[in-house]
């Protein structure tokens, strides 16, 4: 398993998001957000709830349609939302990334294996035997060998989330999107999932992670982006943003997470 091979240099630009805007009714959730992601890079999106970080992620995967802005997979596909966007363009954008959800969103009526091969077989039309072999390999990688025939309800939250990660990996996306992947987990299960994500990062997967786990962000992320009120307040190296932020708002947020009471 490795990220999509490319002839481009490893640290070349993969994604450029420009002036992304999104409102729900009269509430402006994103007010012009810019984000750049290079190949193999891990970007951590942090910020208080309602800051718009999850909406950014959802816009990248086509789960929300931005009102304005450009999402550019550099050299492949640039979708400009200032004009109406075709279904085909949206699907093409969506297929470049895969989302890991906060609440896993596994298919409860399908076994673990069926959950994982659904996309590769039904959508990508890959041979079933090949998809199954790949799925087994991935499951073994995240410590879930032997769980192929289990139904999601038979697994712990941490196991379910690892299946969610494998389901995303099986699609071989260029970009992995994690939406607070450990927020729904019991504290003792958080570590297993974060370890898996860290290993993926070490292998060179490109990912954007919305998270409240600051220790994880500091250890794994190449860049931390702090959002508040629908704008990027501060971005930079994790050590800077999380230890010695320039902006007062960032400092307050980080302090509150580190010292909740």
């Amino acid at each position: 398993m490795s990220p999509t091979e490319s002839t481009l240099p490893d640290d070349s630009a993969l994604l450029a998001v420009r002036e992304l805007r999104k409102a729900f009714g009269s509430h402006e959730v994103l007010k012009s957000v810019d984000i750049d992601v290079r190949r193999g890079e891990v970007v951590a999106l942090i910020g208080p709830s309602g800051s718009g970080k999850t909406t950014v992620l959802r816009c990248l995967n086509g789960l929300e349609i931005p009102d304005d802005g450009v999402v550019d997979f550099v050299g492949q596909l640039a979708v400009d939302f200032s004009a109406p966007v075709s279904k085909k363009q949206l699907a093409s954008l969506r297929d470049r990334s895969a989302m890991v959800f906060q609440h896993y969103n596994l298919f409860p009526h399908k076994t673990v294996l069926e959950n994982i091969i659904e996309g590769p077989v039904q959508v990508q039309k890959r041979p079933k035997a090949e998809a199954i072999a790949a799925a087994r390999e991935l499951l073994a990688r995240v410590g879930l060998e032997g769980k192929e025939k289990s139904y999601p309800f038979e697994l712990s939250g941490g196991q379910q989330q690892r299946v969610g990660i494998v389901r995303a990996l099986a699609l071989r996306p260029q970009l992995l999107l994690f939406d607070e992947p450990t927020s729904a987990l019991d504290p003792e299960l958080v570590g297993d999932v974060l370890t898996v994500i860290k290993e993926l990062a070490d292998e060179g997967w490109t990912m954007v992670v919305v998270t409240h786990e600051l220790a994880f962000a500091r250890q794994v992320a190449d860049e931390v982006i702090f959002m508040d009120g629908g704008v990027v307040v501060e971005r930079g190296h994790p050590d800077t943003v999380l230890r010695d932020p320039r902006e007062e708002r960032t400092r307050q947020f980080v302090d509150r997470l580190l010292n909740p009471f």
Binding site: L63, M99, F107, H109, P152, R167
Partner: protein, 221 residues
Amino acid sequence: MTINWDLVWSSLGPILMGAVTGTIPLALASFGLGLLLALLIALMRLSRNPVFAAIARIYISVIRGTPLLVQLFVIFYGLPSIGVTISPWPSAIIAFSLNVGGYAAEVIRAAILSVPKGQWEAGHTIGMSRRQSLVRIILPQAARVSVPPLSNTFISLVKDTSLASLILVTELFRQAQQVAAFSQEFMLLYLEAAVIYWVVCLVLAGGQSVLEKRLDRYVAH
């Protein structure tokens, strides 16, 4: 009152025949067609297209707001006066299917809405179109939820097919009526008919339990 057992036994043949060749096929055909129609109406009702949604709304309102007997009579006795004559069996199947279509549409709509939005989103993120998500992800989960209420609809339908006797379809109740008219044993024959309906419905209720168990295998208990 003494029970004329000879009449019970001799009438059992024609009445069961009415069930096997009338009531049961009528109920099965109408339910099958009605469910297809109901799925279509439910999807129209959920559609973002306001015209489709309005048509579905009106359809459901008319079907639920008018008696089944009236619907049946309009089709069988009413339509001929505008030049459309349909024989008893097709009339009955049309009327019952249209009726099931209206009632089951609301059941299916509710069942589809009961599947969490995250399931649609998971389908989306693995690359599925809305149609693919609907067929492979949403409907199988909606099916589980809708078994109990749809069983209700089906059991009601089985009993409602007795109305077809009024448009000359030879089914369970019409057979009982004929024996009753001939023998003048109304109480006996109608009770006999009632018992047979009840037995059929007991069997169906058993089938419902089996189906629920099967569909529950992937749910935590």
